[in-house]
Symmetry: C2
Subunit: 333 residues, 2 copies
Amino acid sequence: MGKGISGKPVVGVDLGGTKILAGVVAADGQILGMAKRATKPEGGPEVVVARIVKTVRKAVEAAKLDMSDIAAVASGAPGPLDPDQGIIWNAPNLAGWENFPLADRLSERLEMPVCIENDVNLGTLGEYALGAGRGARDVVGIFVGTGIGGGLILDGVLRQGFRKAAAEIGHMIVLADGPACGCGNRGCVEAVASRTAIERDILAGIDAGRESLIPAIMQRDSRDRLTSGALAEAFRGNDPLVTEVIGKAQFYLGLLVASVVNFVDPEVVIFGGGVTEALGEDFLAPIRRVAYQCFINKRGAEQVKIVLAQLGDNAVLLGAAVLARRRLGKDGA
Amino acid sequence: MGKGISGKPVVGVDLGGTKILAGVVAADGQILGMAKRATKPEGGPEVVVARIVKTVRKAVEAAKLDMSDIAAVASGAPGPLDPDQGIIWNAPNLAGWENFPLADRLSERLEMPVCIENDVNLGTLGEYALGAGRGARDVVGIFVGTGIGGGLILDGVLRQGFRKAAAEIGHMIVLADGPACGCGNRGCVEAVASRTAIERDILAGIDAGRESLIPAIMQRDSRDRLTSGALAEAFRGNDPLVTEVIGKAQFYLGLLVASVVNFVDPEVVIFGGGVTEALGEDFLAPIRRVAYQCFINKRGAEQVKIVLAQLGDNAVLLGAAVLARRRLGKDGA
């Protein structure tokens, strides 16, 4: 390390539908400087590319460095995408991008190597290398928010899949013929345990006349959507409807973990995402209990860790930095 | 290859609760000679070891070879087991073996390198290398019989798991709160789609007064269990109860494939096992239809092949031969 090119900082980017987050990351995983900017996807891909470039430059400035100090850039992006070609196949969150060569466009503008990868995969890679999965060989990441996303690292290798479509954990089916999912199928874990599913069931309960703290919280906050914060407030206030609906989600997530463990037997399962972050260990404990109960192989069950993510909003950009460094090493750049 | 040690034949063994099957396998995967013998597990592990040794020698004889022509032996065994240490941790099918060092015992008696692996993993490895998965990088094996077993090969690597407990596909949960499974949980795919589950539902239908060909077939064959053969006969005879119950199993197996594909995105999914073999393509077609429908990522969906196993009863011993050869290569023996 030190002054060699492998010791140079890289920039990790988290490109989302609403905001772009960039961080300059040292070889040891320390964040040296960050910047943030709205995505404004309505302007189309070239406008977003310009905004990413600006955000990267701002982060480098914040780190008190020069662009020539940076070895490479990597960006997480909503998919599906082709990480090898650096092309976004299709991103509904980005005003319908289709077959956009994001890596090449950024590389031309930034004049350095750029690679891209699915954002949830990078969140998992970040936790694996620098967060809750440090020291483990296998990590399954489960991110519970508006939807449920996942990432899969086995023996240190990020599983991309034969069609670059792996780790769509939210669409593993836990309740055959269950509630309709946004994907068109039924009983996906996303349809029974995401914030969207939790909100659907809480609002149905309220519509049916159940008492709850939720209407007052939403009115006070002038929100027409149920945020993770409001959910957490009602959950901590022991709201019976909220506790019941979240309890159901926890049960299904426990079954999901059991399915995942019975199938790939990983070392660590990491829970992140907005709902998990807002509710914390109180959310995770019952999930863990159900999961352990349903491991088919009980030998060494307690060695399989089921833990909270540690990197919060920085997981994706840190994972991007890890990816950039791995690619640099591989390509000998 | 040719006359070097890597070109020598190996012996693959399939150790089951009722029979031992051994085959001498050439470097190109051809079976040169086979032998079969009852397991007689009631005699305890040392008796079974002696019977395996005899079966191996008979297979070598059948191949018109001498034991000195054989480079190594590998055996599939019911688990759970430790493939690295060669120890059977626990095998209910083998009169309750506990922590038995099968590989070492066989190696002492056969005077050559011996390794062991979970039988369903080897069945999958056999299909990967020599059967329906030839040429693919990833294979998921799903074996539907009395129970449902599985194997997982990703990028050519057999996934054993952090606790050597991977690929327990039968205990992925597809129907939360569904029927009780032999493992103590509910809604595992084994509890809704194995021959045991199919038999349970057919017999319940008959008990409830539904008409079916099954009672006459079982009486004719003097059987008190529903065999795969009887199931196939009634299925081909368009027995409405059997068609309905198998249809349900096919639906759940389709959801299982979707969960597996949405999670690891493999190149090939191979269906084997007694039920699959007896029913053939008529069993697989509806599973395939449900599965494709539930892939979250439709891009290139038809490139993910869902196919019948090709090696039948020889899958495990052929997989064992592949493993023996891989180990020889690795250890340079």
